[in-house]
C-alpha cells in the first residue's frame, strides 16, 4: 500500500469516492510510513488512535453518501495549532505537557470537512526560527540530501515538520503558520507548495500567538491544486477572531488551469540582492519566461522600501511576541519552576521554559517597547511598515496583478551551519518572504527547480489582498512548466 502515500489530495479524493481504497487504508499507509520515518523527527506526536477513529467515521460517511470536501484525507497539524485533548506544545518546553480544552478554528474546519488527523508536527519554538533548529524536541531533518552526500540538512522553518512530512509522503497535506516566511521558506527548501493567505483569511483563534499582526495559517501540499483544496477548507470567517474577515471563501480550485493571458506580473528590482547565487537569479528569470510563455506580461517594478522590511520585522515581531508570551507565567498552564517569591518564580519559570532564541526575542521586544525607546524603535518600525505596504499598493494600483520573486536567497543548509555566532545570519533567510507579512498580502511558494547540488528551489508569487485565486492560477502555470520534485528515500 506504499503508493497510497504518494497520492495527491485530489487523486486521493477521487480514489476514495470510487472506493478504490478506504479512508482506513489511507490512514494506515501513512501511519506505517510515519513509523519508518522517525529519523526525520517531523512529528512530535503521532495520533494513530485518533486517525483510526476519524478514518472509520469517514468511511461511514462515504458509505452513507455524506462525504465532506476533505473526507478521509490524512493531514498533519503543526504543533502551533491547539487540538482538543491532544498535546499542543508550540515546540516549547514551557508547554511540554499542555493539553488544550479547545480546538483551533482552522483545524476544526478541517475536521468538519472530513479530514483525518495523523499527528502534530515539529516546529521552531513558538515559530521563532527559519530552520526548525530551535524546537525543544530537536531539529527536523530534511528528506532531501545534497547529491552524493549524507550531511543532514534543515527543512527550513518554522513549519519544518509540516514541510518535511509532506515532502517525505508522511501526510497528504499539512497546516503551517507564517509570520515572516514560516510556510513559504520551508516549502521552498523541501520542494513542496506553501501558501500564506491574506491576513484575516484564516482565523487565528486557537493558534499559539507569536506576532498577532503578522501570523496567518496556511497549507503545505505537493501540488498547487492541493493547496487550493486545503486552503478552502481552512479559511472562513470566525467571530472568535476579530481580525478574521467576513468575506465569502471562493472555490479556489476553480482557479487551477484558468488562463493567465494578459496578467501583468511585476519583477521587483529590489529583490536582486548583492551576492545572490547565480542559480537563484537563473531560476527567477526562467520563472518569468514560463509565465510569459503562458501569456502573462512581465514588467519591471520597484518596491523601494524592501530592504527595510526585515529590520522593521525584527522590531514589530519581537515586540508583539514579548506581549503575547507574557502569559507564560507558571500560574495558569505550562511549566512552573519554584522560586523564593512570585517574581522569582516567574523569572525562573521563563528562563527554564523558553529556549535561547525565544528569550532573546522576548528581551528585544521588551526593550523596543520600554519607556524612552518606544518612539525610536517600535513607532518608527510601524511607520516603515506603512511605507512597505504602500510600495505594493502603488504597483497594484498601476495594474500589476502579482509579483514574482525568489522564495529564498539560497537552497537548504546543513543542521548547525547557520546563525551560531550571529542571530542575524539566520534572520536573512526570510528577506524575500517577510515583506508579504508586513503588508498582509497573500504569497505562495512553488517548487521551480533544483540547484547544482540537487536541492529544491522555490519561486514566490505575491498577490493583491484576497486574490489568492490569481496566485493559484499563476502557481499552477509554474508547476506545469517546472514539474514536481521528489526526494530520494534514504530514511
Amino acid at each position: 500500500m506504499a503508493e497510497l502515500t504518494s497520492l495527491t489530495i485530489s487523486d486521493a479524493r477521487d480514489g476514495l469516492k470510487k472506493k478504490s481504497f478506504s479512508a482506513a487504508e489511507l490512514a494506515d499507509a501513512h501511519l506505517a510510513a510515519m513509523e519508518k520515518a522517525r529519523a526525520l523527527n517531523a512529528y512530535v506526536l503521532e495520533t494513530p488512535e485518533r486517525a483510526h477513529a476519524m478514518a472509520k467515521a469517514s468511511d461511514a460517511r462515504i458509505a452513507a453518501g455524506k462525504a465532506g470536501p476533505l473526507e478521509g484525507i490524512p493531514i498533519a497539524v503543526k504543533d502551533m495549532f491547539c487540538t482538543e485533548g491532544v498535546r499542543s506544545t508550540a515546540g516549547s518546553r514551557i508547554l511540554k505537557n499542555f493539553i488544550p480544552a479547545y480546538e483551533s478554528t482552522v483545524t476544526a474546519n478541517l475536521w468538519r470537512d472530513g479530514a483525518v488527523m495523523l499527528g502534530k508536527t515539529n516546529n521552531d519554538e513558538f515559530a521563532m526560527g527559519s530552520s526548525n533548529e530551535t524546537s525543544h524536541f530537536g531539529p527536523v531533518i530534511s528528506p532531501w540530501r545534497r547529491k552524493g552526500a549524507n550531511t543532514p540538512l534543515v527543512p527550513g522553518g518554522s513549519s519544518g515538520g509540516s514541510a518535511a512530512a509532506v515532502a517525505a509522503n508522511l501526510a497528504l497535506g499539512a497546516t503551517g503558520t507564517d509570520t515572516g516566511g514560516s510556510i513559504r521558506q520551508p516549502a521552498a527548501f523541501t520542494g513542496t507548495v506553501g501558501m500564506k493567505p491574506t491576513y484575516g483569511r484564516c482565523s487565528r483563534w486557537g493558534i499559539v500567538a507569536f506576532a498577532s499582526s503578522l501570523d496567518q495559517a496556511g497549507p503545505f501540499t505537493r501540488t498547487v491544486r492541493d493547496a487550493a483544496i486545503l486552503l478552502r477548507a481552512m479559511s472562513g470567517h470566525d467571530p472568535k477572531d476579530t481580525t478574521s474577515v467576513d468575506r465569502a471563501v471562493p472555490n479556489y480550485e476553480a482557479a487551477i488551469g484558468k488562463s493567465i493571458k494578459g496578467m501583468k506580473i511585476g519583477i521587483p528590482k529590489e529583490y536582486r540582492l548583492d551576492g545572490m547565487p547565480a542559480e537563484i537569479e537563473t531560476l527567477w528569470r526562467r520563472g518569468a519566461d514560463w509565465l510569459k510563455a503562458a501569456g502573462a506580461e512581465i514588467i519591471d517594478v520597484s518596491l523601494p522600501h524592501t530592504k527595510y522590511a526585515l529590520p522593521a520585522y525584527y522590531i514589530v515581531a519581537p515586540a508583539e511576541a514579548s506581549s503575547n508570551l507574557a502569559r507564560y507565567d507558571g500560574v495558569r498552564y505550562g511549566l512552573r519552576v519554584a522560586g523564593r517569591d512570585i517574581t522569582d518564580m516567574y523569572q525562573k519559570t521563563r528562563a527554564e521554559g523558553f529556549g535561547p532564541e525565544v528569550r532573546r526575542r522576548v528581551m528585544i521586544g521588551t526593550y523596543v517597547l520600554s519607556a524612552g525607546y518606544y518612539d525610536a524603535y517600535y513607532l518608527r518600525a510601524q511607520k516603515v511598515r506603512t511605507l512597505i505596504k504602500k510600495d505594493f499598493e502603488d504597483c497594484f494600483n498601476a495594474g500589476v496583478h502579482a509579483m514574482l520573486t525568489p522564495a529564498t536567497p539560497s537552497a537548504a543548509f546543513g543542521v548547525g551551519e547557520k546563525g551560531q555566532a550571529d542571530p542575524v545570519e539566520m534572520y536573512l533567510n526570510d528577506v524575500f518572504t517577510v515583506t508579504v507579512n508586513m503588508a498582509g498580502l497573500p504569497g505562495i511558494s512553488v517548487p521551480a527547480g533544483l540547484d547544482g547540488q540537487g536541492l529544491p528551489l522555490g519561486l514566490q508569487l505575491i498577490g493583491r489582498p484576497f486574490d489568492e485565486e490569481m496566485l493559484f492560477s499563476l502557481g499552477e502555470a509554474i508547476e506545469q512548466a517546472a514539474g514536481r520534485f521528489i526526494p530520494q528515500k534514504w530514511w
Binding site: 481580525t243 529590520p311 517569591d341 513607532l379
Partner: protein, 95 residues
C-alpha cells in the same frame, strides 16, 4: 544604539526572565547585533507617515456585552501547575 550589561539586566527583569551573571555578556553581544541590524531604519524618512495599526483595513467588530461562555472551571484549571478548590495557587504575595 547599543546596550550595556546593566541594561541587559534591566530588560531581563522587565521581561521576567532570570539571567545568570555569566550569560549577560553573551546576551549583550546578541542583542547589540540585532540592534545594529535594525539601526538602518533611521535612514528612512518617516516624516508625516502614519504608523500602521491594522494591516487589512476593517472596522472593529463588536458584540453585545453579555456572558457567552463560562461554568468551565475544571477545563480552565486542567493545565494549571498548582490549584486548590477551583483557584490557581501562587506563592504568597502579601505578608
Amino acid at each position: 544604539m547599543s546596550v550595556d550589561a546593566d541594561t541587559v539586566r534591566r530588560i531581563a527583569h522587565l521581561a521576567r526572565i532570570a539571567v545568570a551573571d555569566d550569560e549577560v555578556e553573551h546576551l549583550r553581544g546578541e542583542i547589540n547585533a540585532i540592534l545594529a541590524f535594525v539601526e538602518q531604519l533611521s535612514e528612512v524618512n518617516v516624516e508625516g507617515v502614519e504608523p500602521m495599526t491594522s494591516v487589512m483595513p476593517m472596522t472593529m467588530k463588536k458584540r453585545a456585552d453579555a456572558v457567552t461562555d463560562g461554568g468551565n472551571a475544571d477545563a480552565v484549571l486542567r493545565n494549571a501547575p498548582a490549584t486548590q478548590d477551583h483557584f490557581f495557587l501562587v506563592p504568597k504575595v502579601v505578608e
